[in-house]
Assembly symmetry: C2
Homo-oligomer: 283 residues x 2
């Protein structure tokens, strides 16, 4: 993972991530539940926004949640403790240097992570080896190229493009949602199924106007203002006009659209072994 997390680590960002998790839980996660006693690896748990949701939805599964940042892990641990769950253990670790044996997990859960990696394909291949045969991976990512709105605004589009560029410069890919299918296939997973999860927001859905258009998406764009202006990607006035126009899309006659993508796939055969059941798993 890049050392530069494009959204930063400040506490406002933590609030944003928690708001986001609250507003989107059903859309993204209602079809994710893990069986009793299954071992689940949550990759790059960050401040625990998804960790608490996972522990709540699958109270009898055993989660191992890893992150690069010790600081994020302590926040996540407090969130899980506060919520009263005891089925999560945390570990500071790098995706590309996982301290787990091959075949250690029944399931792997990866949410809003691949977008920040320079080598998402390699990460998926490494995670696949940590799965038991038949185990599943769940990957959820956004795609900022899926954002469009009414009224149309070139300034708002330019502000969004700043985040896309900054994320690319940091080694990531803010448009990765649309690539989940080919990435999972190329990483060698079987039974790859990807579904779009659309957040459509008009004023008949005030919770999403506030919770998504304003406090999730627009707040995320606002979060890169300083970096975008400092890097000369955009004039400050244009950026500010763009943010105003995103808030405009949250007005009573505005509309905002964004699509997340969720992929689920299975670790099938060991390479070289037709049925995958007759050979030990290579590490």
């Amino acid at each position: 993972m890049s050392d530069t997390y494009v959204h930063g680590y400040r506490s406002r960002e933590q609030e944003r991530l928690n708001d986001q998790a609250g507003a989107l839980v059903d859309l993204l996660h209602s079809d994710t539940a893990y069986p009793r006693m299954s071992k689940v690896l949550e990759v790059a748990c960050g401040v625990g926004a998804q960790t608490v949701m996972l522990a709540r939805r699958s109270p009898d599964a055993q989660f191992t949640s890893i992150d690069l940042s010790e600081e994020s892990i302590s926040v996540a641990r407090r969130a899980v403790d506060r919520a009263g769950f005891t089925n999560v253990s945390f570990q500071q670790s790098n995706i590309f240097d996982l301290p787990f044996e091959s075949g250690s997990f029944d399931h792997v859960f990866v949410c809003f992570v691949l977008e920040h990696l320079a080598q998402p394909l390699e990460a998926l291949a490494l995670l696949k080896r940590r799965l038991k045969l038949g185990g599943t991976i769940t990957v959820i990512e956004g795609d900022h190229g899926s954002a469009y709105f009414h009224p149309i605004s070139a300034a708002a589009q330019a502000a969004i493009d700043c985040l896309v560029r900054l994320q690319r410069e940091a080694g990531g890919n803010a448009l990765i949602g649309r690539e989940i299918y080919p990435l999972l296939v190329e990483a060698g997973f079987d039974d790859v199924r990807v579904s779009p999860r659309v957040v459509y927001v008009d004023s008949s859905r005030p919770d999403l106007v506030e919770g998504f258009t304003r406090r999730t998406f627009t707040a995320m764009i606002e979060g890169v203002r300083e970096a975008a202006v400092a890097r000369g990607l955009i004039e400050a006035a244009t950026f500010d006009a763009g943010v105003r126009d995103l808030h405009r899309a949250a007005a009573s006659d505005g509309v905002f659209n964004y699509t997340f993508f969720k992929g689920v796939a299975r670790r099938g055969d060991v390479p070289g072994s037709p049925d995958g059941r007759t050979r030990p798993v290579a590490t």
Copy 2:
């Protein structure tokens, strides 16, 4: 309606419209059914792609299908006859000069029509008056700004933008899907509910690869090549590269996304009358 129908009237276009209807029927129409004996106005039925579907799904409703073009109506009439339905009557008519009394219909159905109108709001207001109080309107439109794909291609985006510009020059709006909610609200409808209908296509869905990415969307873009190049909107080579890249998005590791929007709303109160039931309907 504009005299210039941006997609043209040739028979290849008729095939395209019929393919499209076949592939998308469930996504767009599975939740539309009209009760026995209800009177339904289908606006701008064209060659009848939706007319046959409507007649099939609501065999006991009575449809009146109108279109500007007598030629399209004869094609539509033959399609309905061939399918064996007798619950559709056709009439050549202009949306802005409807030969129906106020309150004539229980329901109005408008699919892929507003995108071609310079005055969609006025059209909705006129259609609203033809509804009985409590009657519903169903509006379905695409939004070409919702199209995105993998691999990303500037040429493909430029080719799509040609259609958007040509449609705008012809008085239409190829990005109207996102505006259905504010349009229906501003036209005075009540209980406006809009939902996105996403066509997500990867190679695990070969019917959509063929039926939507290639034969619906890419064919539609290809259809404006001549006009776009003649108008100097794009170099022929760029356009052709864009079309190739759209076909590339239909390859085994490609992905294509498009979103339609479906709005359903109700004619509520007569303006000036609180409950809408105590006054005759103004024409």
